[in-house]
Point group: C2
Chain length 198, copies 2
Protein backbone atom coordinates (compact mmCIF):
# COMPACT_ATOMS: atom_id res chain seq x y z
CA UNK A 1 0.00 0.00 0.00
CA UNK A 2 2.37 2.69 -1.20
CA UNK A 3 -0.28 5.15 -2.35
CA UNK A 4 -1.35 8.17 -0.37
CA UNK A 5 -4.97 8.26 0.79
CA UNK A 6 -6.83 11.54 0.33
CA UNK A 7 -10.03 12.15 2.25
CA UNK A 8 -12.40 14.78 3.59
CA UNK A 9 -14.13 14.76 6.99
CA UNK A 10 -16.56 12.31 8.51
CA UNK A 11 -20.22 12.74 7.52
CA UNK A 12 -18.89 13.95 4.20
CA UNK A 13 -20.54 16.82 2.37
CA UNK A 14 -20.07 17.53 -1.32
CA UNK A 15 -16.82 19.43 -0.75
CA UNK A 16 -15.35 16.60 1.37
CA UNK A 17 -16.04 14.06 -1.41
CA UNK A 18 -15.37 16.18 -4.49
CA UNK A 19 -12.23 17.86 -3.19
CA UNK A 20 -10.78 14.44 -2.33
CA UNK A 21 -11.49 13.26 -5.89
CA UNK A 22 -10.15 16.47 -7.42
CA UNK A 23 -6.95 16.54 -5.39
CA UNK A 24 -6.33 12.84 -6.10
CA UNK A 25 -6.68 13.68 -9.80
CA UNK A 26 -4.23 16.57 -9.57
CA UNK A 27 -1.69 14.57 -7.56
CA UNK A 28 -1.87 11.71 -10.08
CA UNK A 29 -1.24 14.14 -12.90
CA UNK A 30 1.77 15.41 -10.95
CA UNK A 31 3.13 11.87 -10.71
CA UNK A 32 2.03 10.78 -7.23
CA UNK A 33 0.26 7.52 -6.33
CA UNK A 34 -2.91 8.63 -4.62
CA UNK A 35 -6.39 7.33 -3.94
CA UNK A 36 -9.44 9.28 -2.81
CA UNK A 37 -11.51 7.60 -0.10
CA UNK A 38 -14.51 8.74 1.96
CA UNK A 39 -15.27 8.57 5.68
CA UNK A 40 -19.03 8.02 5.38
CA UNK A 41 -22.10 7.78 3.18
CA UNK A 42 -22.50 9.80 0.01
CA UNK A 43 -25.34 12.33 0.40
CA UNK A 44 -28.11 12.74 -2.17
CA UNK A 45 -26.66 16.08 -3.20
CA UNK A 46 -23.19 14.61 -3.71
CA UNK A 47 -24.63 11.62 -5.61
CA UNK A 48 -26.43 14.02 -7.94
CA UNK A 49 -23.12 15.75 -8.70
CA UNK A 50 -21.33 12.41 -9.25
CA UNK A 51 -24.13 11.20 -11.57
CA UNK A 52 -24.19 14.45 -13.53
CA UNK A 53 -20.48 14.23 -14.29
CA UNK A 54 -20.34 10.41 -14.52
CA UNK A 55 -17.81 9.92 -11.75
CA UNK A 56 -17.79 6.98 -9.35
CA UNK A 57 -17.81 7.84 -5.65
CA UNK A 58 -14.58 7.20 -3.75
CA UNK A 59 -14.36 3.89 -1.88
CA UNK A 60 -15.29 3.86 1.79
CA UNK A 61 -12.10 4.02 3.88
CA UNK A 62 -11.21 1.15 6.19
CA UNK A 63 -12.38 1.79 9.73
CA UNK A 64 -8.89 2.36 11.03
CA UNK A 65 -5.86 3.77 9.40
CA UNK A 66 -2.97 1.37 8.82
CA UNK A 67 0.23 2.15 10.62
CA UNK A 68 2.41 4.69 8.74
CA UNK A 69 -0.16 5.11 5.97
CA UNK A 70 0.54 8.37 4.12
CA UNK A 71 -2.52 10.59 4.09
CA UNK A 72 -3.67 13.96 2.83
CA UNK A 73 -6.55 15.70 4.61
CA UNK A 74 -8.90 17.93 2.63
CA UNK A 75 -11.77 20.08 3.91
CA UNK A 76 -10.85 19.50 7.57
CA UNK A 77 -7.90 19.69 9.93
CA UNK A 78 -9.40 18.60 13.25
CA UNK A 79 -8.50 15.11 14.37
CA UNK A 80 -11.99 14.65 15.80
CA UNK A 81 -13.49 15.07 12.32
CA UNK A 82 -11.00 12.74 10.68
CA UNK A 83 -10.45 9.02 10.36
CA UNK A 84 -10.10 7.02 13.57
CA UNK A 85 -6.47 6.34 14.48
CA UNK A 86 -5.24 9.21 12.34
CA UNK A 87 -2.25 9.36 14.70
CA UNK A 88 -1.09 5.98 13.31
CA UNK A 89 -0.71 7.54 9.87
CA UNK A 90 1.60 10.08 8.39
CA UNK A 91 -0.05 13.37 7.42
CA UNK A 92 1.73 14.69 4.33
CA UNK A 93 -0.61 17.55 3.52
CA UNK A 94 -3.69 19.43 4.66
CA UNK A 95 -5.78 21.60 2.29
CA UNK A 96 -8.68 23.28 4.03
CA UNK A 97 -10.74 26.43 4.54
CA UNK A 98 -11.80 26.02 8.18
CA UNK A 99 -10.38 27.52 11.31
CA UNK A 100 -7.34 25.65 12.56
CA UNK A 101 -7.96 23.62 15.66
CA UNK A 102 -4.98 22.64 17.71
CA UNK A 103 -3.02 21.23 14.82
CA UNK A 104 0.44 19.78 15.38
CA UNK A 105 2.83 17.91 13.13
CA UNK A 106 5.97 16.04 14.03
CA UNK A 107 7.64 17.05 10.80
CA UNK A 108 7.21 20.06 8.51
CA UNK A 109 4.20 19.41 6.26
CA UNK A 110 2.46 21.07 3.34
CA UNK A 111 -0.39 22.72 5.23
CA UNK A 112 -2.58 25.21 3.49
CA UNK A 113 -5.71 26.86 4.74
CA UNK A 114 -7.21 29.92 3.14
CA UNK A 115 -10.18 32.01 4.30
CA UNK A 116 -12.45 31.16 1.37
CA UNK A 117 -15.82 29.43 1.16
CA UNK A 118 -14.73 26.04 -0.14
CA UNK A 119 -11.72 23.72 -0.36
CA UNK A 120 -12.29 23.33 -4.11
CA UNK A 121 -11.57 27.05 -4.55
CA UNK A 122 -8.10 26.51 -3.10
CA UNK A 123 -7.59 23.38 -5.20
CA UNK A 124 -8.40 25.24 -8.40
CA UNK A 125 -5.69 27.75 -7.46
CA UNK A 126 -3.26 24.88 -6.92
CA UNK A 127 -4.10 23.37 -10.33
CA UNK A 128 -3.30 26.75 -11.87
CA UNK A 129 -0.09 27.11 -9.85
CA UNK A 130 1.02 23.90 -11.56
CA UNK A 131 -0.04 25.23 -14.98
CA UNK A 132 -2.88 22.67 -15.14
CA UNK A 133 -6.64 22.71 -15.46
CA UNK A 134 -9.15 20.10 -14.27
CA UNK A 135 -10.94 18.22 -17.04
CA UNK A 136 -14.67 18.79 -17.57
CA UNK A 137 -15.86 16.12 -15.13
CA UNK A 138 -13.51 17.10 -12.30
CA UNK A 139 -14.33 20.77 -12.94
CA UNK A 140 -18.00 19.83 -12.56
CA UNK A 141 -17.34 18.19 -9.21
CA UNK A 142 -15.31 21.18 -7.98
CA UNK A 143 -18.08 23.52 -9.11
CA UNK A 144 -20.57 21.37 -7.21
CA UNK A 145 -18.48 21.63 -4.05
CA UNK A 146 -18.39 25.44 -4.26
CA UNK A 147 -22.13 25.71 -4.95
CA UNK A 148 -22.82 23.40 -2.02
CA UNK A 149 -20.51 25.11 0.51
CA UNK A 150 -21.58 28.66 -0.45
CA UNK A 151 -25.26 27.85 -1.11
CA UNK A 152 -24.83 29.39 -4.55
CA UNK A 153 -22.82 32.32 -3.09
CA UNK A 154 -25.49 33.23 -0.56
CA UNK A 155 -23.64 31.92 2.50
CA UNK A 156 -21.79 34.52 4.62
CA UNK A 157 -18.63 32.45 4.15
CA UNK A 158 -18.73 32.90 0.37
CA UNK A 159 -15.99 35.13 -1.07
CA UNK A 160 -15.29 36.77 -4.39
CA UNK A 161 -12.67 34.10 -5.04
CA UNK A 162 -15.31 31.39 -4.74
CA UNK A 163 -17.59 33.15 -7.21
CA UNK A 164 -14.86 33.79 -9.78
CA UNK A 165 -13.56 30.22 -9.45
CA UNK A 166 -17.06 28.76 -9.85
CA UNK A 167 -17.59 30.82 -13.02
CA UNK A 168 -14.37 29.50 -14.52
CA UNK A 169 -15.19 25.93 -13.49
CA UNK A 170 -18.68 26.13 -15.01
CA UNK A 171 -17.09 27.00 -18.36
CA UNK A 172 -14.70 24.05 -18.09
CA UNK A 173 -17.60 21.78 -17.10
CA UNK A 174 -19.86 23.31 -19.78
CA UNK A 175 -22.83 23.73 -17.47
CA UNK A 176 -24.94 26.78 -16.65
CA UNK A 177 -23.83 27.66 -13.13
CA UNK A 178 -27.14 29.06 -11.82
CA UNK A 179 -29.38 26.42 -13.38
CA UNK A 180 -27.12 23.53 -12.39
CA UNK A 181 -26.64 25.06 -8.96
CA UNK A 182 -30.36 25.17 -8.26
CA UNK A 183 -30.73 21.54 -9.40
CA UNK A 184 -27.86 20.46 -7.19
CA UNK A 185 -29.19 22.20 -4.09
CA UNK A 186 -32.67 20.80 -4.77
CA UNK A 187 -31.26 17.29 -5.07
CA UNK A 188 -29.73 17.80 -1.65
CA UNK A 189 -32.84 19.25 -0.10
CA UNK A 190 -34.88 16.16 -1.05
CA UNK A 191 -37.75 16.48 -3.52
CA UNK A 192 -40.44 16.09 -0.86
CA UNK A 193 -39.58 19.50 0.63
CA UNK A 194 -39.62 21.41 -2.62
CA UNK A 195 -42.35 23.56 -3.99
CA UNK A 196 -43.15 21.90 -7.35
CA UNK A 197 -43.75 25.30 -8.92
CA UNK A 198 -40.21 26.65 -8.38
CA UNK B 1 -2.38 51.89 13.24
CA UNK B 2 -4.21 50.27 10.37
CA UNK B 3 -1.24 48.51 8.84
CA UNK B 4 -0.48 44.84 9.32
CA UNK B 5 2.74 43.98 11.14
CA UNK B 6 4.87 41.21 9.63
CA UNK B 7 7.55 39.57 11.74
CA UNK B 8 9.66 36.47 12.18
CA UNK B 9 10.50 34.74 15.45
CA UNK B 10 12.33 36.00 18.54
CA UNK B 11 16.14 35.86 18.39
CA UNK B 12 15.75 36.49 14.68
CA UNK B 13 17.98 34.75 12.17
CA UNK B 14 18.49 35.93 8.62
CA UNK B 15 15.31 34.19 7.38
CA UNK B 16 13.18 35.75 10.14
CA UNK B 17 14.37 39.26 9.22
CA UNK B 18 14.63 38.94 5.44
CA UNK B 19 11.36 37.04 4.96
CA UNK B 20 9.52 39.70 6.97
CA UNK B 21 11.02 42.41 4.72
CA UNK B 22 10.30 40.43 1.56
CA UNK B 23 6.71 39.59 2.44
CA UNK B 24 6.05 43.20 3.47
CA UNK B 25 7.35 44.22 0.04
CA UNK B 26 5.09 41.75 -1.76
CA UNK B 27 2.01 42.67 0.28
CA UNK B 28 2.62 46.37 -0.43
CA UNK B 29 2.87 45.65 -4.11
CA UNK B 30 -0.44 43.79 -3.83
CA UNK B 31 -2.04 46.87 -2.27
CA UNK B 32 -1.89 46.07 1.45
CA UNK B 33 -0.63 48.37 4.22
CA UNK B 34 2.09 46.38 5.91
CA UNK B 35 5.22 46.98 7.96
CA UNK B 36 8.01 44.54 8.72
CA UNK B 37 9.25 44.54 12.31
CA UNK B 38 11.72 42.39 14.23
CA UNK B 39 11.56 40.70 17.62
CA UNK B 40 15.21 41.05 18.55
CA UNK B 41 18.70 42.14 17.59
CA UNK B 42 20.01 41.89 14.04
CA UNK B 43 22.81 39.31 13.84
CA UNK B 44 26.13 40.00 12.16
CA UNK B 45 25.21 37.67 9.34
CA UNK B 46 21.90 39.44 8.75
CA UNK B 47 23.55 42.86 8.94
CA UNK B 48 26.02 41.76 6.27
CA UNK B 49 23.12 40.84 4.00
CA UNK B 50 21.31 44.13 4.69
CA UNK B 51 24.50 46.12 4.02
CA UNK B 52 25.25 44.23 0.82
CA UNK B 53 21.84 45.04 -0.63
CA UNK B 54 21.52 48.51 0.99
CA UNK B 55 18.34 47.75 2.93
CA UNK B 56 17.53 49.18 6.36
CA UNK B 57 16.72 46.63 9.07
CA UNK B 58 13.08 46.49 10.18
CA UNK B 59 12.20 48.49 13.30
CA UNK B 60 12.21 46.69 16.62
CA UNK B 61 8.64 45.75 17.53
CA UNK B 62 7.00 47.21 20.63
CA UNK B 63 7.32 44.87 23.59
CA UNK B 64 3.67 43.95 23.57
CA UNK B 65 1.24 43.70 20.75
CA UNK B 66 -1.60 46.27 20.73
CA UNK B 67 -5.10 44.88 21.07
CA UNK B 68 -6.57 43.73 17.75
CA UNK B 69 -3.37 44.54 15.85
CA UNK B 70 -3.38 42.62 12.55
CA UNK B 71 -0.26 40.51 12.20
CA UNK B 72 1.37 38.09 9.79
CA UNK B 73 3.84 35.54 11.16
CA UNK B 74 6.72 34.39 9.01
CA UNK B 75 9.33 31.72 9.75
CA UNK B 76 7.50 30.51 12.89
CA UNK B 77 4.09 29.39 14.05
CA UNK B 78 4.64 28.67 17.74
CA UNK B 79 3.28 31.23 20.15
CA UNK B 80 6.29 30.74 22.42
CA UNK B 81 8.61 31.94 19.65
CA UNK B 82 6.45 34.92 18.80
CA UNK B 83 5.76 38.37 20.18
CA UNK B 84 4.50 38.59 23.76
CA UNK B 85 0.72 38.96 23.97
CA UNK B 86 0.25 37.56 20.47
CA UNK B 87 -3.19 36.48 21.67
CA UNK B 88 -4.21 40.17 21.83
CA UNK B 89 -3.64 40.50 18.10
CA UNK B 90 -5.35 39.14 15.05
CA UNK B 91 -3.29 36.64 13.06
CA UNK B 92 -4.18 37.07 9.38
CA UNK B 93 -1.53 34.80 7.90
CA UNK B 94 1.30 32.43 8.71
CA UNK B 95 4.03 31.55 6.18
CA UNK B 96 6.51 29.05 7.56
CA UNK B 97 8.59 25.93 6.97
CA UNK B 98 8.70 24.46 10.47
CA UNK B 99 6.65 21.73 12.07
CA UNK B 100 3.28 22.96 13.26
CA UNK B 101 3.01 23.19 17.00
CA UNK B 102 -0.46 23.27 18.49
CA UNK B 103 -1.73 26.01 16.25
CA UNK B 104 -5.32 27.23 16.57
CA UNK B 105 -7.19 30.10 15.00
CA UNK B 106 -10.59 31.49 15.89
CA UNK B 107 -11.33 32.28 12.26
CA UNK B 108 -10.15 30.72 9.00
CA UNK B 109 -6.74 32.18 8.14
CA UNK B 110 -4.24 32.01 5.32
CA UNK B 111 -1.83 29.49 6.81
CA UNK B 112 0.87 28.02 4.68
CA UNK B 113 3.70 25.77 5.70
CA UNK B 114 5.74 23.76 3.23
CA UNK B 115 8.46 21.19 3.94
CA UNK B 116 11.31 23.21 2.45
CA UNK B 117 14.52 24.59 3.91
CA UNK B 118 13.57 28.26 4.19
CA UNK B 119 10.55 30.58 4.39
CA UNK B 120 12.00 32.69 1.57
CA UNK B 121 11.65 29.70 -0.77
CA UNK B 122 7.89 29.70 -0.15
CA UNK B 123 7.71 33.47 -0.54
CA UNK B 124 9.40 33.33 -3.92
CA UNK B 125 6.71 30.85 -5.01
CA UNK B 126 4.03 33.26 -3.75
CA UNK B 127 5.59 36.16 -5.71
CA UNK B 128 5.41 34.00 -8.82
CA UNK B 129 1.84 32.91 -8.08
CA UNK B 130 0.96 36.61 -8.26
CA UNK B 131 2.92 37.03 -11.50
CA UNK B 132 5.53 39.15 -9.73
CA UNK B 133 9.27 39.05 -9.09
CA UNK B 134 11.24 40.59 -6.22
CA UNK B 135 13.52 43.47 -7.19
CA UNK B 136 17.30 42.99 -7.01
CA UNK B 137 17.68 44.08 -3.36
CA UNK B 138 14.78 42.01 -2.04
CA UNK B 139 15.97 39.06 -4.14
CA UNK B 140 19.36 39.45 -2.49
CA UNK B 141 17.80 39.32 0.98
CA UNK B 142 15.74 36.25 0.08
CA UNK B 143 18.82 34.57 -1.33
CA UNK B 144 20.65 35.37 1.92
CA UNK B 145 17.87 33.75 3.94
CA UNK B 146 18.08 30.54 1.91
CA UNK B 147 21.87 30.39 2.10
CA UNK B 148 21.68 30.96 5.85
CA UNK B 149 18.96 28.38 6.60
CA UNK B 150 20.44 25.71 4.33
CA UNK B 151 24.10 26.47 5.08
CA UNK B 152 24.65 26.83 1.33
CA UNK B 153 22.52 23.69 0.65
CA UNK B 154 24.55 21.51 3.02
CA UNK B 155 21.91 21.28 5.75
CA UNK B 156 19.79 18.10 5.83
CA UNK B 157 16.69 20.34 5.66
CA UNK B 158 17.76 21.77 2.29
CA UNK B 159 15.59 20.68 -0.65
CA UNK B 160 15.85 20.88 -4.42
CA UNK B 161 13.29 23.71 -4.32
CA UNK B 162 15.61 25.76 -2.11
CA UNK B 163 18.51 25.27 -4.48
CA UNK B 164 16.54 26.12 -7.62
CA UNK B 165 14.98 29.17 -5.94
CA UNK B 166 18.36 30.41 -4.73
CA UNK B 167 19.78 30.10 -8.25
CA UNK B 168 16.95 32.18 -9.67
CA UNK B 169 17.26 34.75 -6.89
CA UNK B 170 21.01 35.08 -7.40
CA UNK B 171 20.35 36.04 -11.02
CA UNK B 172 17.79 38.66 -9.97
CA UNK B 173 20.21 39.95 -7.34
CA UNK B 174 23.16 39.77 -9.78
CA UNK B 175 25.48 38.10 -7.31
CA UNK B 176 27.51 34.92 -7.56
CA UNK B 177 25.66 32.51 -5.30
CA UNK B 178 28.61 30.48 -4.07
CA UNK B 179 31.00 33.38 -3.56
CA UNK B 180 28.38 35.56 -1.88
CA UNK B 181 27.15 32.60 0.15
CA UNK B 182 30.62 31.92 1.58
CA UNK B 183 31.03 35.61 2.48
CA UNK B 184 27.63 35.69 4.16
CA UNK B 185 28.29 32.59 6.24
CA UNK B 186 31.71 33.91 7.20
CA UNK B 187 30.20 37.22 8.31
CA UNK B 188 27.92 35.22 10.57
CA UNK B 189 30.67 33.00 11.92
CA UNK B 190 32.63 36.04 13.07
CA UNK B 191 36.05 36.76 11.65
CA UNK B 192 37.97 35.65 14.73
CA UNK B 193 37.02 32.02 14.08
CA UNK B 194 38.04 31.94 10.48
CA UNK B 195 41.16 30.61 8.94
CA UNK B 196 42.65 33.65 7.16
CA UNK B 197 43.84 31.43 4.32
CA UNK B 198 40.38 30.22 3.27
MN1 LIG C 1 -17.14 20.10 4.42
MN1 LIG D 1 -15.76 22.80 2.64
MN1 LIG E 1 14.40 31.12 11.48
MN1 LIG F 1 13.68 29.68 8.34
Amino acid sequence: MDYTLIFGHKNPDTDAICSALAYADLKKRLGFQTKAVRLGEVSKETQFALDTFSIQPPELAAEKLAKNQDVILVDHNEHSQSIDSLEEGNILEVIDHHRISNFSSEQPVYFRTEPVGCTATILYKIYKEHGLEPDAAIAGLMLSAIISDTLLFKSPTSTEADHITASELSKLATVDMEAYGMELLKAGAGTENLDPTD
